[in-house]
């Protein structure tokens, strides 16, 4: 993998390969967490915000961003909560996760956003919050198009 020169946005910085499970292609800023996400008691569907106390993303909004996370935890309502974000217009733009569970997989399907799983290299390490990424759910490719500047990273972190 080649790393683009600083300050040059034209070429892709890094391409990560996985398996697309929900089709579609989208480009958006990444929101990355090393904490698993809970649906019930974990997110507020009206605002698209993480509400679990002590969660790394507590108080942050995932709406319109590429949610990069390890996987789902907690209640079986997970898919229903993320489906509700779609119906309420607060859904993330795409999902990238590596821990395959029924909760997260069904959740991605009913949220109907491009989703890539089983991604290498480890997306939690490779992608940073604020990076502009393209998620290609058809080809199973996640591309980092532009690194977050320190300003965008700190604004969204």
């Amino acid at each position: 993998m080649s790393v683009g020169e600083p300050g040059r946005a034209a070429a892709a910085v890094l391409e990560l390969r996985g398996r697309g499970i929900v089709p579609g292609v989208v480009e958006a800023e990444a929101l990355v967490t090393h904490d698993s996400i809970s649906g019930f008691g974990g997110i507020d569907v009206a605002t698209g915000t993480v509400i679990e106390p002590r969660h790394e993303l507590f108080g942050q909004c995932f709406t319109g961003r590429v949610l990069v996370f390890p996987g789902a935890k907690g209640s079986s309502g997970w898919s229903g909560f993320f489906q509700s974000t779609r119906l309420m217009g607060t859904a993330p733009a795409a999902m990238v996760f590596n821990v395959l569970t029924t909760k997260a997989v069904l959740g991605a399907i009913v949220t109907r956003v491009p989703t890539v799983v089983e991604v290498a290299p480890d997306p939690l390490e490779a992608i940073r919050t604020g990076d502009l990424v393209r998620v290609d759910g058809d080809a199973g490719i996640v591309t980092i198009l532009r690194r977050a500047t320190s300003a965008t990273a700190s604004a969204s972190a």
Binding site: V22, P53, Q83, V99, L106
Partner: protein, 426 residues
């Protein structure tokens, strides 16, 4: 994913549009999981009637058929919803009539749920309205493939009953109800049912509170993995394992555990690990037990308790009887409410046996269908609540923004009667 001829016919519309939509969802879901095929099931526990703003809007747009199509089948077409193909029950949902006016929970939601109940029961859905279907007649047998939601029910079905289910969701159970199929993946496969971790209790684990605390520890340690638990364990009963499993699925995502000699799939440690050598045990000692207790009580600062919540997961008849016994000839503190959540079928038995009368006379309530976490509502003005449930102590502070105390049943009853939390680790 491989489909049988019958499944292909369902997919292609031979049984109507709703069944075709259901099969389409199952194929997308199974392919995404990487499942090789589907498996037949005749036992589905899902959710259709629980009100939500999104569901209300869909209902207003196109009735319950539209709500089912979008939410339970992930399908945007206008389709008729036929009778469920296989036995299906509704799990816990929102508050019912018995809780009307007790909280800020909206009367419109209660009415909406009533309307949904009529629609779905006409289509063969049994409105058990509980997180514990296994307490009210839905008891899958060992080895049976089922499609259940509700993490505490899933872990009970897999572990205590030896049935086989993944932690399903609203759409996968909706599709399973109309097809009698679910992806053959995860917990359905025999090779995925052996223990991966060993947890050894070095302190005695006996009784409801201790089993809940132990479960909370185990879940936090193993996360989504499959623990076998051994050590200084007393003989658990239904309520103990209901609490233990719910706690493992709260601090972690445990869907299956083994207690060698107790749960049916593992008569001994060797069987729990499928003949492989057990790994080094994770130890649950005095320090770990104290850590769990402190973690569950980290959301409490004021000792002025204005709400006591019992019955998470929904109380057994035995638990209700104990609560009634402890409340006999006593009266709740003027500023404190006490609720016991239970399935409606057990509420009927509690009424018949006089337990409800004793609890009500003391100033408490026996309520059904839901819980404060599911309905996001507690008595008005609640700032501090106490509970004997590790799961409710974990979730309710985040959901309602209130403080929590976790302790033994007698400590919770004491708080209800005095209005003061005086619990402590014993």
């Amino acid at each position: 994913m491989f489909l049988t001829d019958e499944e292909k016919r369902m997919r292609d519309g031979a049984e109507g549009e709703a069944v075709a939509a259901a099969m389409d969802l199952l194929v997308r879901y199974g392919d995404a999981l990487g499942a090789d095929r589907l498996v037949e099931t005749r036992n589905v526990a899902g959710t259709m009637t629980q009100p939500s703003p999104a569901k209300q809007r869909l209902f207003e747009e196109g009735g319950w058929a539209r709500a089912y199509a979008v939410i339970n089948l992930d399908c945007d077409r206008d389709i008729e919803i036929p009778r469920m193909k296989v036995p299906t029950c509704q799990l816990q949902h929102g508050f019912g009539e018995d809780a009307a006016g007790l909280t800020a929970y909206s009367p419109q939601s209660i009415e909406l749920q009533g309307s949904a109940e009529s629609y779905y029961s006409e289509r063969g859905v049994n409105i058990l309205a509980t997180c514990t279907p296994y307490q009210v007649g839905n008891l899958p047998v060992r080895g049976e493939h089922v499609a259940w939601m509700e993490s505490s029910a899933v872990v009970y079905a897999n572990s205590v009953l030896g049935a086989r289910t993944n932690c399903e969701g609203g759409a996968s159970t909706g599709a399973a109800s109309l097809t009698g199929r679910i992806p053959y993946w995860g917990n359905h496969l025999p090779e995925n049912r052996f223990a991966t971790h060993l947890v050894e209790a070095e302190v005695p684990v006996d009784g409801f509170q201790e089993w809940g605390m132990f479960g909370y520890f185990v879940g936090g340690e193993v996360e989504e993995a499959r623990p076998a638990v051994v050590g200084d364990l007393g003989q658990p009963d239904l309520a103990d394992l209901k609490h233990f499993g719910a706690a493992t699925a709260t601090s972690g995502g445990v869907e299956l555990y083994h207690i060698p000699g107790v749960t049916p799939v593992a008569p001994n440690l060797d069987a729990a690990f499928g003949g492989r050598a057990a790994p080094e045990p994770i130890r649950y000692g005095r320090r770990e037990r104290e850590w769990v207790y402190e973690t569950l009580n980290a959301q409490g600062s004021s000792t002025d308790v204005d709400f006591v919540l019992l019955g998470c997961p929904h109380a057994s008849l035995d638990q209700i009887a104990r609560i009634a016994y402890l409340l006999e000839d006593r009266r709740l503190h003027a500023g404190t409410e006490l609720w016991v959540m239970t399935p409606r079928a057990l509420r009927t038995m509690a009424d018949r046996n006089g337990y409800t009368r004793t609890i009500t006379r003391a100033g408490g309530r026996v309520l059904t269908d839901s819980c404060p976490a599911m309905s996001k509502a507690a008595p008005p003005g609640t700032r501090v609540f106490a509970t004997d449930s590790a799961k409710q102590a974990h979730y309710l502070p985040a959901i309602l923004g209130i403080e929590a105390w976790f302790g033994a049943l007698d400590e919770c009853i004491d708080a209800a009667v005095t209005g003061t939390w005086r619990g402590g680790l014993r």
